[in-house]
Amino acid sequence: MSSELTQRTRKALTSALASVIAIVLALIVGGIVMRLAGNNAIDAYRALFNGAFEDKRAIGETTVYSAPLILGGLAFAIASRAGMFNIGIEGQLVMGGFASALLGAWDLGLPSALYLPLCLIAAAVAGGIWGLIPGILRAKTGAHEVISTIMLNYIAFRIITYLVQKQSSWLPVDPERQATNRIVDAAKLPRLLDGTRMHAGIIVAIAAAVILWIVLYKTTFGFRVRTVGLSQGAASYGGIKWGATIMIAMAISGALAGLAGAGEALGLNYRHTTVPPGYGYTAIAVGLVGQNNPLGVILSGFLFGILSAGAPNMQSEAGVSKEIISVLQGLIILAIAAVAVFDHLPALRRRAASAAGTKPRTDSAAA
């Protein structure tokens, strides 16, 4: 029992180390890119850090960006744990954001204690349905979720554009603004700190992460999800229903993405605009850096939140285009993927050794 625990701890530490190495590598390569473009990378990173931390307002911004990224990262993580690659987070996010803002703009005349939870549930349901569809398609027809989620992203954008532009006669939407109408006060996520934009979305995100961690590691459902993700065959052999498990995991994934959209609509913009925010793709990086562990996702979500919150300051203070942040995000993903190579190293080393005619070194000292 205790040896299993230490093994898990060791594994978690190795994963965390891999993430840290990947981030450092990405920052170095990003710095080289800036240097080549004639910028001072040290100044840029300093400005970025200041933009994320220098005062109350900056720290508030960091939480504002971290909230959707943590929720999106969790959405990626739960799907990945079930062996599903959800790149439809963006579509699920906008569906959730749109649903919550529609409901919030309708002015149902409810007190906040009822109205806000109702809007959050609407977001989770809308995002959840949009995540469930690729789950059903995969389980029932074998349609690969990578392709179906990409398609569903674009279909979601179009549905929302259509409803906002063409159905304003009965929906609370504003075609001029390309957005929903402003939500009523009772539907708003409260602001947490005066003089900042920090809103309760960050609390929703952290609470969701803790709950998801408990679900994944302390419940039979979580055990099923992880088993299915490790091996579909072994899961069926052990009597776990693969199809049902991936469908539920995808619905949860979509619901979390939907909540990310709700945070933007109910906590930040007070409406949903038709321009997709792009968090869905960064969420993939957040999940990967967090090693698809909900608690790891909190940390990586904050890391990416820092990058996003500091970026405008990097542009204004150091004169480095804030677009470099996307490059850094991509580099971090590449670095994570490359560092993961070291997982294969024992096998590769053995093969190389046998090819060279020497006796392979045993790597199973732990066993």
Binding site: V33, A37, G38, F85, I87, L137, T141, G142, A143, H144, V146, I147, S148, I150, M151, L152, Y154, I155, R158, I159, T161, Y162, Q165, K166, Y281, T282, I284, A285, L288, S321, E323, I324, I325, S326, V327, L328, Q329, G330, L331, I333, L334, I336, A337, A338, A340, V341, H344, A347
Partner: protein, 294 residues
Amino acid sequence: MGDFFTLALLTAILRMTTPLLYTALGGLLSERSGVANIGLEGMMLTGAFFAVAGTYWSGSPWVGLLLAIFSAGAAAAIHAVWCIRFRANQIVAGTAINLIAGGLTAFLVQVVWGQAGGSASVERLPRLTSGISFLVPIAFLLVPVVHIFLFRTKPGLHVMASGEHPQAAESVGINVNRMRYASVIAGGMLAGMGGAFLSIGDLSYFTLDMTAGRGFIALAAVIFGGWLPFGALGATLLFGAAQAVQIQAQVTSGFPISSDFLVALPYILTLIAITGLVRSSNSPAGLGKHPDGH
């Protein structure tokens, strides 16, 4: 309605289809060799940017076209190294390519032209007639070329064997990894031509994210076309026509089909296609598998 289906519409269909066709043929090569490629969007965008940058620096759109091909090939090479050498998840690697391409082109626009949003105007590649770049017929000619290459030549059959059954291919002496590197990089170069068509074939400047999801539509066309060159041609023509009609429908009052539906059509059709309701051909069986079976 009478003058809706005009020469202008036909021209528009060809213009909309061309970038999709280049990129779809590129994606087809990559996937046929066994490497899934959702980084097409990023490779296309890279090509679109460097086409303009090369033209701007040299004054010649031909240099721009070359730079587009090589830069997108370089992006594809990164994808290939990660997928083949590092055995990274191919979807993860493709996602990274897209993020880096989107960020880097936007970053470089500011570095080169000192403005956000887009490039300065540059010289265009020559045109055959009004509105039709010479890159248009080349795209259509490439369809039989890729078909004959894949199904009638030895290297082409080796590429397909690498994608269908890498272990078996390796056992009969095919260097699977070399086939894959070549296919992914050549595919990236084609995507780069698709991007160059957008920026210096059709228009004469680069704007941020100007591919606007075309790489994903091209990927959808590969799948909808059953991983066959002529299938990809049919799919890109259909998707290109949907875009062209949609643009025309916006300026024609009383057009019976919603333009939003037309824009979504490629995605809806592809979604239906992958559920197996219209079974055309299966994906390469060895997609994402390594030659040693791991």
